[in-house]
């Protein structure tokens, strides 16, 4: 006791394993058991939604949907396949991307929508902004190991919520080229992040 100087680590980041256990534990539990799960994973859902949607209100709506889905389907979470963080980030991203696409379909149907251009510009992805956003994270360091074309393709696909085809149009590149850039880019990131599961 009293050796305060020995511990410089920041306070209370719940360990990944403890979060996994919290999620497993709320299966069949009382609704109150979900409160610590929300506290631990809400920021992941919100961060993943915000990355794709950019708009805080939309991201909050998606986060609400996702966290209720997490509660409902907690029994489907399988710790053997990945962390709770990854599971929630995956669910959140999928919903955010769905929302982007349905909005887009909506706009496409209304060719005269005057918001179209400003919306599109607001959604343009600037690699430098992304790198600033990720500052200090492991992904940021690992992105440096990609070629600039790989980095651009991965970042545009991730933050734009775009399909391969849309990425190809956006970057004015051939579809097979984009596919291989994204594949090689994600594979390098995987090796750099050390997420191999055996």
């Amino acid at each position: 006791m009293g050796q305060t100087e020995a511990v410089a680590s920041p306070p209370a980041r719940t360990s990944a394993d403890a979060v996994d256990a919290l999620l497993v534990a709320c299966v069949g539990g009382v609704p109150e058991s979900f409160a610590p799960v929300y506290d631990a994973l809400g920021p992941v859902a919100y961060g993943a939604s915000l990355g794709v949607l950019r708009d805080p209100d939309h991201a909050a709506e998606v986060t609400q949907e996702v966290m209720v889905e997490v509660w409902q389907t907690a029994s489907r979470f399988d710790p053997a396949r990945g962390s709770a963080r990854t599971w929630v980030a995956t669910l959140a991203r999928r919903r955010a991307v769905d929302r982007v696409r349905s909005e887009q379909a909506h706009r496409d149907r209304d060719q005269r929508d005057t918001d179209l251009r400003s919306h599109e510009r607001a959604r343009d992805v600037v690699v430098e902004d992304v790198e600033r956003r990720l500052e200090g994270s492991a992904v940021r360091r690992c992105l440096d190991g990609l070629t600039s074309t790989q980095r651009e393709a991965v970042v545009v696909a991730y933050y734009g919520g775009l399909t391969y085809r849309e990425v190809a149009e956006r970057l004015d590149a051939a579809l097979p080229t984009v596919k291989s850039r994204i594949r090689d880019g994600l594979s390098r990131l995987r090796d750099c992040l050390g997420v191999h599961r055996g």
């Binding site: 961060g47 986060t63 396949r81 963080r85 399909t163």
Partner: protein, 243 residues
């Protein structure tokens, strides 16, 4: 086809490609593992951001009205086998999770409590222990070969033990005060009938938990001993849990 897995993880495939990958994933466990890795990569892009404060109560209110679905992890559910065996296993796991959910939640929540840095220094060792315990118990619950033994305690209360491989997670509640200068001591019962001490139980509101790893035991027992504990039981066990 494997080339499409990164795009699948990024939600970047059109419908036809996605359906093709779905078929691959259904047939090939190695492809599922590769996808899990790509998903972890994609998830690493998410920057934790505190959601608006009002969202918390909205979600927790909604959760009270929405029932949970009860099924096994989607991609690892055992293939339907002839007879009722497959279903029974899933059912057992679900039941086990329900029954043990509260205990793991308590342990994990204790480990997850956010505390200011100054206090964190003092409790960090305790929290590390709890984290480790929560992780281990969660692993044990996932082990399909794990078993739960449960019995009433003489003198009041109930005890149970979760056994998985060589690990045992003991849990008791409703235990009366053992009396002045007395303590409850936990014992591991070996296959040969011998017992070895697993320590004196730290009682909180009549409840105690203890994780014993690499025990090589077939059961557990509790006896009332002098406060410091004994080398071997000196009284008749008040509860014995064995397979």
């Amino acid at each position: 086809m494997w080339d499409l897995l990164p795009g699948y993880a990024l939600d970047a495939l059109d419908d036809a490609d996605r359906r093709a990958v779905d078929r691959l994933l259904a047939a090939d466990p190695a492809a599922r593992r590769a996808l899990d890795e790509y998903r972890a990569v994609v998830a690493a892009f998410a920057v934790e951001t505190e959601p608006p404060a009002a969202l918390r109560s909205r979600v927790l209110d909604q959760v009270r009205d929405v029932p949970q679905v009860q099924d096994a992890p989607a991609d690892t559910a055992p293939a339907p086998s002839p007879g009722a065996a497959g279903g029974a296993v899933v059912d057992l796991v679900a039941r086990r999770r329900r029954r043990w959910g509260a205990a793991v939640a308590a342990v994990a929540a204790a480990a997850a409590i956010a505390v200011p840095t100054t206090i964190a220094v003092q409790v960090s060792a305790e929290r590390d222990r709890l984290r480790e315990e929560a992780a281990a118990v969660s692993e044990m619950l996932a082990d399909p070969d794990s078993a739960i033994l449960r019995a009433a305690v003489d003198g009041g209360g109930e005890a149970s033990v979760l056994v998985a491989d060589d690990d045992m997670f003991f849990q008791a509640e409703g235990l009366p005060d053992p009396g002045p200068d007395r303590a409850y001591q936990l014992w591991v019962v070996g296959a040969d009938g011998g017992v070895s001490s697993a320590g004196v139980l730290a009682l909180r509101d009549g409840a105690a938990t203890s994780l014993v790893r690499d025990s090589h035991g077939v059961g557990m027992a509790v006896s009332v001993e002098p406060a410091g504990g004994s080398a071997q039981p000196t009284t008749t066990p008040i509860v014995t849990l064995s397979a």
